[in-house]
């Protein structure tokens, strides 16, 4: 369809048909303030702030968020009617809004402040008493609600209902008495609750983890990638004086669409743990890196299959590459166990599905995974395709899952272990005969209850048969990269004599057979009491490198905090360990490693093309509170 031409404040702009005036203005850099409008939520027209004048049409206040463009439309944002109407709405919002900006966490990044500054009346005419609510109210141990500050834009409740398919956050009462509330004031349970903090255009919803921690202008931020699971959501990490103080969402339409789960948002305080390991130690005594590495090398060298190595789920591609060199050489035959990984084999054959392709699926099959827990943000993508775009949904899982909330879901409750058989039966299901478009086949491993290799084959066959694509739902952060680099072992560790624990201890515990224990971790743990060698590790907030997410997209970490001396980057430690073991892994920096990987592993060719570390800031005049 050809673009529609219109003018906004005299400036011509062409946008696709169906575009809203507020979005067309954004394209021109014309600010039309909004509270209720959000480009990822359904239209609601509640706040009435985005008033403009539009011709053709009567000379009345028109809202830019509720008006699609039309050919020849003339939009004026600066007429006296529009300017006054916007100022009036801001004044209305402030009639009962407390003036506690100095102690409000939102202060400094608050649309209500900014819009009032730019669009409000210069003087206040409000000197009457304000309505009061009890403040603040904990919505959960993570989120505080200050009802007095709320402007009732309904972003939070709409998000809950539309995006997360939950109604535990709701609106109580009506009129000026209405307020946001959790059901019967019980704590929010959702794994997606934190997004309402980013959505809130005022200081009504704030993070209790971050509460009163720092002023927005007192932090620096970095656009990076979440390391909590294999989805690889884009996030912004905020640091202040070397402490990670906040994680917020960062919109990436290919993957997360601006939503992150609560694990990604709130699960970061270990970065700032005062007990973090800072220096290497040997048998309980502080040591130099060189001594510790020499001790480690001596303990693991030549052990063959009597050496066990536990790998962290968030090992970077670069670390994995160097580690692979050790496995091919001095550590040959060692048993390797990557923590948190699924049993799903490395993808082969046809390309696997991209997360964004779920949007266009007409039928979605989710097999052997409670995706809300396994790959949370993929869960929201599926909900969008089903709830907003009318896709049909089939779930194969022994238990009830979050997706059952949709009344149209077909849930096949299989006996554990029979998922592959159910998938094979599905090929003849009526929904899949003429699906009318893409069929998405998402499969996990049943957390061990399914024969993952067989299930992968069954899903690939089904996808091929019905004209669909399959998406293996890896869980470990860089499981797919580790698979590509050949280090994603799932060997049993029992019986090993020497054990190197890299990252958190293995879920199976430390086998009693271990005589030599070394750990490379960022926190001291009881398991390490008898460790011969203890190496301090970096966290996701400090390390450089890349992850391949579950769909295979390579994403670069941009840590907000510099590696604090004497800590070293993981690749440096591996390089030194290599030297101690007699392998030369000498790189001037991380880039040569990345180029080397790109040249050798086709799946990771993107490593040769790191994005500009300082991308042009996107001009976001409306939308999430954190651009």
């Amino acid at each position: 369809m050809p673009d529609v031409n219109l003018t906004i404040d005299g400036r011509p702009v062409a946008v696709p048909a169906g575009t809203l005036v507020v979005e067309a203005a954004k394209k021109l850099g014309v600010e039309i303030p909004v509270f209720c409008y959000h480009h990822k939520l359904d239209y609601v027209g509640a706040c009435r702030l985005c008033v403009v004048e539009i011709s053709p049409g009567p000379p009345i206040a028109r809202i830019a968020c509720g008006t699609p463009v039309s050919e020849g439309m003339v939009v004026k944002t600066q007429t006296s009617l529009a300017v006054e109407a916007r100022a009036d709405v801001l004044e209305f919002e402030l009639v009962n809004h407390p003036l506690d900006c100095p102690v409000c966490d939102k202060g400094g990044e608050c649309p209500l402040q900014d819009f009032t500054f730019r669009h409000g009346y210069p003087t206040s005419r409000i000197d009457g008493p304000r309505l009061h609510f009890k403040k603040p109210i904990p919505l959960s141990d993570k989120i505080a609600l200050d009802r007095e500050r709320c402007v009732l834009c309904y972003r939070c409740t709409r998000y809950y209902d539309e995006v997360a398919w939950e109604q535990e956050l709701t609106v109580g009462e009506r009129g000026v008495e209405s307020f946001i509330t959790s059901q019967f004031d019980r704590p929010l349970q959702s794994n997606f609750s934190g997004n309402i903090i980013d959505l809130c255009p005022v200081g009504a919803l704030t993070s209790r983890v971050w509460r009163f921690e720092s002023r927005p202008w007192d932090m620096t931020s970095s656009a990076t990638i979440c390391s909590r699971c294999a989805v690889g959501c884009s996030v912004t990490q905020w640091q202040r004086r070397g402490q990670l103080v906040r994680v917020t969402s960062r919109e990436n339409d290919d993957i997360d669409e601006g939503w992150i789960c609560d694990r990604g948002r709130f699960d970061y305080t270990d970065v700032n743990d005062p007990s973090r390991l800072r220096t290497p130690s040997v048998r309980g005594s502080r040591s130099s890196w060189a001594d510790a590495i020499a001790e480690l090398a001596a303990g693991i060298k030549g052990k063959g299959s009597r050496l066990g190595i536990s790998l962290p789920q968030d090992i970077t591609n670069e670390e994995a590459h160097l580690f692979r060199a050790l496995l091919d050489g001095p550590l040959k035959s060692a048993r390797v166990s990557m923590q948190g990984r699924t049993a799903i084999p490395a993808p082969s054959g046809a390309a696997t599905m991209r997360i964004k392709e779920i949007d266009d699926a007409r039928v979605i099959v989710v097999v052997a995974s409670d995706i809300e827990d396994d790959v949370p943000i993929v869960d929201l993508r599926v909900k969008k395709a089903v709830g907003k775009r009318g896709a049909k949904l089939i779930v194969i899982h022994p238990d009830g899952v979050d997706l059952d909330r949709h009344p149209g879901v077909l849930h096949i409750r299989n006996a554990p272990g029979s998922a592959a058989a159910e998938v094979r039966k599905l090929a003849s299901h009526e929904w899949l005969q003429n699906p009318g478009g893409l069929v998405a086949v998402l499969f996990g491993d049943g957390r061990g209850s399914e024969d993952a290799a067989d299930l992968a084959v069954a899903c690939a066959e089904l996808a091929e048969k019905v004209g669909g694509k399959r998406m293996p739902l890896y869980r470990a952060t860089n499981e797919r990269g580790a698979l590509a680099l050949g280090v994603a072992g799932s060997d049993k560790l029992d019986g090993v004599e020497a054990l190197l624990i890299w990252g958190p201890p293995p879920s199976t515990g430390i086998p009693p057979s271990v005589r030599f224990l070394a750990a490379w971790d960022h926190l001291p743990r009881p398991d390490y009491a008898n460790a011969a060698v203890l190496l301090p590790a970096t966290t996701f907030a400090e390390r450089q490198g890349t992850y391949s997410n579950l769909e295979g997209t390579v994403q670069f970490l941009r840590p907000p905090i510099a590696v604090p001396s004497p800590l070293k980057e993981g690749w440096e430690v591996l390089s030194e360990l290599g030297a101690a073991l007699g392998v030369t892994l000498d790189y001037a920096g991380i880039s040569p490693i990345q180029r080397e990987i790109a040249g050798r592993v086709p799946e990771l060719a993107a490593l040769a093309h790191p994005p500009d570390p300082n991308p042009e800031p996107r001009r976001v005049l409306v939308g999430p509170a954190h651009p």
Binding site: G128, P129, Q167, T170, E173, P407
Partner: protein, 180 residues
């Protein structure tokens, strides 16, 4: 858990097929719940939600929006006195005060000591030609005078066996009054 009787829960579960979408059944379901236990407690709303496979928060949001749903205890007989303009012009304010005095309550929503009555000033009930008027026990009562109000109250006070006042759980008010 489970304050609604089995048969009411059955009735509620039978509601959704009558509507194109399940949410349309929420208000009829709340009616049944309110009829059974007098007013809508969180437990009752949770029961309704469970029967309809919705989050309780959804049900709470609906219940608190509409004035005919009560989330606080009420009298067995609710006097809904119209006080909007047509009735006000014909003396509704005085009648409201009279009714409250007669049943022995000091404020709207308060339940009389015998548990029989509560009085609520309401908006226009759409019977303006009979102003002043009220709704009581699912019927309209017209051309009210203090004497007529007393008659209606007396008729309900005397023949009825005493009704124990419902157990009331004090609830913190969500909103305090304006300051200043």
């Amino acid at each position: 858990m489970g304050v609604l009787s089995d048969h009411v829960m059955e009735e509620i579960r039978a509601l959704p097929p009558q509507f194109p979408e399940v949410r349309s059944a929420v208000m009829p379901a709340l009616d049944l719940a309110q009829e059974e236990i007098g007013y809508l407690t969180p437990e009752a709303m949770s029961d309704v939600a469970a029967a309809l496979n919705l989050d309780p928060g959804y049900v709470e949001g609906v219940a608190t929006f509409y004035t005919l749903f009560h989330t606080e205890p009420t009298g067995k007989h609710r006097l809904y006195m119209c006080t909007n303009i047509s009735c006000k012009l014909r003396g509704a304010d005085d009648l409201l005060e009279h009714a409250m005095r007669s049943v022995g309550v000091h404020e709207q929503g308060e339940v009389s000591a015998d548990g029989l009555f509560s009085v609520e000033a309401v908006e226009c009930l759409g019977a303006c030609e009979y102003a002043p008027m009220m709704r009581l026990d699912h019927a309209y009562h017209y051309d009210l005078t203090p004497e007529k109000v007393d008659e209606l109250i007396t008729a309900r006070r005397n023949p009825s066996p005493p009704v124990p006042a419902r157990q009331t759980k004090p609830r913190t008010p969500r909103r305090q009054k304006t300051d200043g």
